[in-house]
Subunit: 280 residues, 2 copies
């Protein structure tokens, strides 16, 4: 009999672990959880303590409780160092595969940027780096930075704001900005619908690639016109040259040292190397 | 002493649950798991049986084992019916908020489409609907269907293929197709880089919106030129009119019954209603 009861509790703890950790950053209502597991609130609270302690002991994350009317619990994962190190290594190997070079000297990387299993972990890295900034939203300009920006937003428990390349009739009136892109050496533009819910918000700008920083700077200016503040800039790959970028502060996951012939060298930035224990 | 040992096992089962369920659809290597939890393979196998049984008992998903050299375990979640029903309800309420109507008669929905907490569940719905097709990739055409397509791809454990609106020098040579869009009544185009790794694949095409189905049809044709087969089409919202679409089969999560004045009615499709136990 004792065996049966403990068995049932063991099952419940496992189910509770899945339910609580399934949506990192999202609040789970205690009443809903109790009903799902058919337990009273007091039992649920005890179970939550056990799950929290186990997750913390194994370095997997933590559970925070919010009391009051909108009471609930929120799971915040800890970056899986070992797995992230392996994923970063694999990503660099894929990125620098000579077959990716186009005849015009570009690297074809769209498939990597749109692979959830490859890019989600990069978003988790940005979420870890910028968590303390307590941003209200993550913004990017279409198109290739979108999966990374979504993954960062998911990790931070916030929504994403999409800056468009051109005005869309379907979004109502919008504000636009023209700027000179260092990468393409062309005048580019980006726009944001007046309805976009960003006013007064603290924004993390995310993009897949940064050379001179013109795009990040333009996004900062455009969002500023909405009364929003870009408080952080995170990119997947930044070129080492030019060393001076048009935005004051940014964090790149990878640094690309370009050379005349061939792909050159890509390696994790100093902060990523420190975070994941990179061995050169 | 007995208490201590059982305590340690309990913690380990909780940690194992998190580790195994963190990346649905992705294979976890048994050797890595054993090292992470400091247990022998035999103990790990016993623990996995317990976790699997608990997750199944609580209707949360299942764990499958792959044997051999590349042996490991994969977690496949079961759709959380209750939570999904609430999320679909919330989504419809947000979508049909009269404030979303632009002066030109469009609905501003970009913020909803780019909200991970709102759109990921819709991707899970598509993944559930199309799991049995065993697709190799999910494709969408930029831009607004991207978050939904990524979520579906994540749920199915596959990558996403991005069809571009125009040719990009940075992607090398590409194939393009022109088509008449029913929504905008304009000639549109989409293109795909020759390097895109889709050859011979089974593809699920995903988009945010379908009216006549011209975009889905064009995607089918373009992917066909790569020797890939669109075996399923899934969209977030389809208009009830025209009833005849340019693709033979598709699944919409929501159906939009448009009216002359105002927004009209949006409701879940029959298959979604059956899946989540919708009460009209």
């Amino acid at each position: 009999m004792g065996y049966l009861v403990s068995d049932q509790r063991q099952r419940r703890l496992i189910a509770l672990t899945r339910l609580v950790t399934a949506r990192p950053g999202a609040q789970m209502n205690l009443t809903d959880l109790g009903r799902r597991l058919s337990v009273a609130k007091s039992t649920l609270s005890e179970d939550l303590m056990v799950v929290k302690e186990a997750l913390e002991t194994h370095g997997l994350g933590t559970i925070d409780s919010q009391v009051g009317m909108s009471g609930g619990v929120t799971f915040t994962p800890v970056l899986d160092i070992e797995r992230t190190r392996q994923d970063v290594k694999d990503f660099i190997r894929e990125l620098t595969n000579p077959d990716r070079m186009t005849p015009d000297g570009f690297l074809y990387v769209t498939d990597l940027l749109f692979s959830p299993r490859r890019i989600d972990v990069m978003g988790d890295l940005l979420a870890t780096a910028f968590r303390s900034l307590r941003v209200d939203a993550v913004a990017t300009v279409e198109t290739r930075g979108i999966p990374l920006a979504l993954a960062a937003a998911r990790g931070l428990g916030v929504d994403m704001v999409l800056l468009r390349r051109d005005n869309r009739l379907s979004e109502g009136s919008s504000l636009s900005i023209n700027y000179l892109s260092g990468s393409s050496r062309r005048v580019q533009s980006m726009s944001l619908a007046r309805r976009a819910p960003v006013r007064g918000g603290r924004i993390l700008f995310v993009d897949d690639f940064m050379q001179a920083g013109g795009t990040a700077r333009a996004a900062q200016d455009l969002l500023g016109d909405f009364g929003a503040h870009v408080v952080g800039v995170g990119v997947l790959v930044a070129t080492r040259q030019p060393a001076h970028k048009l935005v004051e502060e940014y964090r790149a996951i990878l640094e690309w040292h370009r050379v005349e012939e061939g792909i050159g060298v890509v390696e994790p930035s100093a902060w990523v190397q420190a975070l994941i224990g990179w061995e050169v």
